[in-house]
């Protein structure tokens, strides 16, 4: 089971909360202080994307965030329940603001893949999942 699990209504105002919680749990798990900004940004991007997918497809279910502390790594899974959430799918673009939304969605994934070395994006008929992992420093190695 995840160390901390978070479910939030697919609304933009809750993405900040997800960022703050993820950064706090990552810090506790031993993720390097210098990397916490990246964790905060990456989880924000993943949650923003999930919120957009839920809103665009009228999904009422919450966005799921799992913060998982493992032996030598810390992982974050952000799951959405939007159907056919295929990354980079431009077929639904109907011009105007829709195009902007899609550009931003692509840019979100671009930021995540630029920031995080260990990232998996999977999508299916029942939704998608972004899994990101960072190495952690065991507490014994932190001693000066």
């Amino acid at each position: 089971m995840a160390t901390v699990e978070l479910r939030f209504s697919a609304l933009p105002e809750h993405v900040r909360t997800a960022r703050l919680v993820a950064a706090a749990v990552a810090r506790r798990a031993g993720v390097d202080e210098a990397v916490l900004d990246e964790v905060r940004l990456a989880v924000g991007e993943a949650c923003t994307r999930a919120v957009g997918l839920h809103q665009n497809s009228g999904v009422l279910a919450p966005v799921r965030v799992s913060l998982i502390e493992e032996e030598k790594q810390f992982s974050i899974e952000v799951g959405d329940e939007a159907p056919h959430a295929v990354p980079g799918d431009k077929a639904s673009g109907a011009g105007g603001d829709a195009d902007v939304d899609i550009e931003e969605d692509d840019m979100g994934l671009a930021v995540i893949s630029g920031l995080v070395d260990d990232v998996e994006v999977s999508t299916g008929a029942n939704g998608g999942l972004i899994r990101m992992s960072w190495p952690t420093t065991p507490p014994t190695a932190v001693l000066p």
Partner: protein, 113 residues
């Protein structure tokens, strides 16, 4: 933290000072501000990001949208930013090649290229 916005005119440039967090929740306010400025005839914008604590791809999208709007009027959109964690986001998305990024408002206001 919320987003703070203030504008002032320096010569023929309009400086937009942004503070706080630019994310999916607050970015629409920045978009509105930029659209309003362009609609009011301000086509040479300097966005001062020194007070920005957080920027994500939604914010980048708004800045790119602003650039498209001012360019339609042969205008310009320059950024002021010295913060490494913010600059990094522009670098990994390749947007350092799209936006002129300056180290001070004075430098951005004086730039003419």
């Amino acid at each position: 933290m919320d987003l703070s916005l203030s504008t002032r005119t320096v010569g023929d440039r309009t400086v937009v000072e942004v503070g706080g967090e630019i994310d999916v929740y607050t970015a629409p306010k920045l978009r509105e501000q930029l659209v309003e400025l362009v609609n009011d005839g301000s086509f040479h914008l300097v966005v001062d990001m020194e007070g920005v604590d957080f920027l994500d791809s939604t914010g980048l999208g708004v800045l790119v949208g602003g650039l498209k709007r001012v360019r339609a009027h042969e205008g310009s959109l320059r950024l002021v930013c010295n913060q490494e964690r913010i600059l990094k986001i522009f670098r990994i998305t390749g947007l350092t090649k799209v936006f002129p990024i300056h180290t001070s408002v004075d430098e951005a206001v004086a730039a003419t290229d």
